[in-house]
Symmetry: C2
Subunit: 214 residues, 2 copies
Amino acid sequence: DHLIICGFGHSGQSAAHEAVARGTPPAAVLVLDVDDARLAAAAECGYIGLRGDATREHDLADAGIERAGAVLICLDRDDSAVLAVLTVRQLNKTVRIVCSVSEEENIKLIRQAGADAIIAPAIVGGYLMADSMQSSLIADYIEDLMRSDGRVRLIERLARADEIGKPMRDIGPGLIVRLHRGEQRIGFWEAEAGIVRAGDRLIEIEPRTTPVHR
Amino acid sequence: DHLIICGFGHSGQSAAHEAVARGTPPAAVLVLDVDDARLAAAAECGYIGLRGDATREHDLADAGIERAGAVLICLDRDDSAVLAVLTVRQLNKTVRIVCSVSEEENIKLIRQAGADAIIAPAIVGGYLMADSMQSSLIADYIEDLMRSDGRVRLIERLARADEIGKPMRDIGPGLIVRLHRGEQRIGFWEAEAGIVRAGDRLIEIEPRTTPVHR
Ligand SMILES: [Ca+2]
Ligand SMILES: [Ca+2]
């Protein structure tokens, strides 16, 4: 159940470090890259470095693709990314594939190729730039939410038995910001629908500093 | 008080659209780019396109840099970005400069050159990829927070008179997630410090759907 990172550029490195910060052991991170300097950088972090190309079946097989828990594809080119997604999906029907994309118009293609989640860093970067036009506080907060260090983090979890029947606003010490019930997304401002039911998935801002109760 | 976007690649386009979604009139967006196809794309969105190079004083002067409200620098290369920031800052000491950077190691340099806010899309993309390893709900929520469309948005505002003396958790209909008091950042879980004071800046998740009160 290891994590395969295809491409150890900036996105791949940042994804690997964040995965480790969230609890993946460094020795369970396998970096597949064609570049020796990047593989050396991966080894320095305690990750397993494997020289290879994520668009080649043989190299993915060497990376143990059939027993991987998740595959993050962070290649420089979208055409390589599409190929990598197709190849990974062919070798493992169920593994979770997260893929980075440069061009918005390739998102559809990559989804069609079999990716479960697609991230477009350039587009997201643009949102954060617009968020920073007046002040940096919004972008700073969003970065804190995304990263597991800092003061808060955003997590997803199943409703606990003692939370059922409560309005989502009354749950603590974290803040429940959204609730998923089947296909429904329920906001904290929805009085009736916002009463927690069994099976609901909660999106919670969790304080990383333990609250001090006096 | 127009907005200058230097570089109309994916980040520049996404920043421009988001700025407009937040209220900047399209006619107040000036796109500076050397590429004619990109300038045509800018014109199609109702922005002013100006052929030019953001590292050249003359071109920035043509873009009205001395009366700009903000400058977003979204160039492909970090060395160009550093030069652009230096040149903009030389021509306008006070304009807000937001700059996109590829390499983490260049963040310091760009700050030193005079940028007020720096966004590293590749790094941020890596965080979101790690956030998507189990499910897409977290990354989806973060994207909704960043963008002004969708169901919620994250805003920053001054505490209102009627909020002073209240615990931040009791303020509604939005959720106050953080409070800035001078240099202090106060979390929603901090019972005593979390009482709103005059002059506090609030970070709020604002519902975009008006709540229905029956
Ligand atoms: Ca955090
Ligand atoms: Ca939104």
